[in-house]
Amino acid sequence: MALLECLNVTKRFFGFTALDNVSLQINKGELVGLIGPNGSGKTTLFNCITGFLSPENGDIVFNGKKITGWAPFKIALSGITRTFQIVRLFREMSVIDNTIMALQQYQSESVFKSVFRFPSARKKESVARERALELLEFLGLTHLKDEKAKNLSYGQQKLLSLAMALMPKPSILLLDEPAAYVNPTLTNKIKKYIKMLNQQGQTIFLIEHNMNVVMDLCERIIVLSAGQKIAEGTPAEIKDNPRVIDAYFGETK
């Protein structure tokens, strides 16, 4: 059974069809890429999957359960996390706080207990903190842990947002243009991390414009154009697919 399925997803905005009957599957452990010209609906698809948008038609199925129409926070808690194309962070909070915030799994612990510092709540807090430190270490951000998020460089912010997405050990990680707006060195670094994570078993679904990244990393690529899925296959297949070339027509990266 596929981990994540999109079944005939259609999304319209005031008469403009952003997604037209898009169906796809992501299986456990895969590293799948989503590409397509600007405006083809990639981020819209992500938004539908994560609950920020509700499709007019079709369903999103995760782990066999229909999550279409679920509130975004509920979807996040069930194991789907994401990063955003333009980095989003809690700017006034410190790096470590940002990371800890990303682990809301212990929501089941009641609010009351947490406020009055019950031991069980405190234990969960320290567990969260430990994991946060681990992740920051993994991504090389430990030295910045008490710095306010807004003071980080853009590249560091990108890494932080990656840390946050990884905190709850998500079943599937959605990355929206992880290599966007960063210099080549950092791009390679991010590539390395993504590869490592996938090798450790993390399922990853990413949107990317940078063809180097996509072709190198992904075992399977899905191509969207004008809201429709026009191709799917291995990087080699996609590279030579006439429809794909046509859709991009002149866009080379």
Partner: protein
């Protein structure tokens, strides 16, 4: 009086400063708490402590009903709706003659009587209210530094992001709303048992402005700052009692000036306030 404002504004700061939820109903809840306590005392002869608890619970319930509808609104609509709520409450107290006696208000609210001890002198009031204020402060402090407080800040900073990491924004907004309503009501009960009189005047925009000013000066997201501001702003007017209108003008201007002031000056003033300056 200072202490009353303290409780009122500290809890308000949770809502505005930490959550970023701009509600103008705080004073409405304040007044509600006051009125309910007064009515309970006068009609049913209940005592201070009972009033405190009961009126606050009732107010919280009203806040819950209100919140379940209003919290879905966008920021601007929310602000206006909460303001509208305040006016509706004002209109009701003004016109519901049978119960609230309208503009004449309800006088002769009995002074607090705790386990048989009548609170009459200023000093006993002071100690009692101080105790309550301390409890409030401790509670709010706990909340703010807990996961709940962090969730509040996350909602203020970036609600979409908070949602995508799993924060149930609605639940937390409601919690913040309820907490501030609860303590506003507490402050209201304290108020009415101190002044022994309540009238619809309490819903005047004046209180709204003052509470906002205190929260803004105090820095919105610092409990200590707001506390200090609360004291400053209730102590000073005692000296300026006569010039009510002037006072209001000054407040209005002060609000404007505060907001126009560039951040750097504000930070300098702030670091003068505190012995250990907040590193920036």
């Amino acid at each position: 009086m200072c202490l009353i404002y303290f409780i009122l504004t500290e809890s308000y700061s949770i809502l505005i400063g930490y959550l970023g939820l701009f509600s103008l109903s705080q004073v409405a809840f304040f007044g509600l708490g006051a009125y309910i306590s007064a009515l309970l005392s006068l009609n049913m002869g209940t005592q201070f402590l009972t009033n405190l608890v009961v009126s606050s619970i009732i107010t919280m319930f009203i806040a819950f009903l209100l919140g379940s509808q209003l919290l879905k609104l966008t920021r601007h609509s929310f602000a206006i709706a909460t303001l509208a709520f305040m006016f509706v409450v004002q209109l009701i107290t003004l016109n519901w003659m049978e119960v609230t006696r309208g503009p004449m208000g309800l006088p002769h609210v009995p002074r607090p009587n705790i386990i048989g001890i009548d609170i009459l002198s200023k000093i006993s009031y002071y100690y009692l209210y101080l105790a309550i204020a301390l409890v409030t402060f401790v509670f709010l402090y706990l909340v703010v530094n807990s996961r709940v407080g962090r969730a509040f800040i996350s909602i203020r900073e970036d609600e979409a992001l908070a949602n995508s990491v799993g924060v149930n924004c609605f639940k937390y907004k409601m919690i913040g709303f309820l907490i501030s309503a609860f303590f506003a009501s507490v402050a209201g009960t304290l108020y009415v048992h101190y002044t022994t009189y309540i009238s619809p005047d309490i819903f005047d925009l004046y209180f709204v402005i003052v509470t906002i000013i205190i929260v803004v000066i105090g820095g919105g997201d610092s409990l200590e700052g707001v506390g200090i501001a609360a004291f400053a702003f209730t102590a000073i007017p005692e000296f300026l009692r006569s010039a009510q209108m002037l006072r209001e003008t000054v407040y209005g201007v002060l609000l404007i000036v505060l907001l126009i002031m560039p951040e750097s000056i504000k930070k300098k003033i702030k670091s003068l306030w505190y012995k250990k300056p907040k590193g920036e």
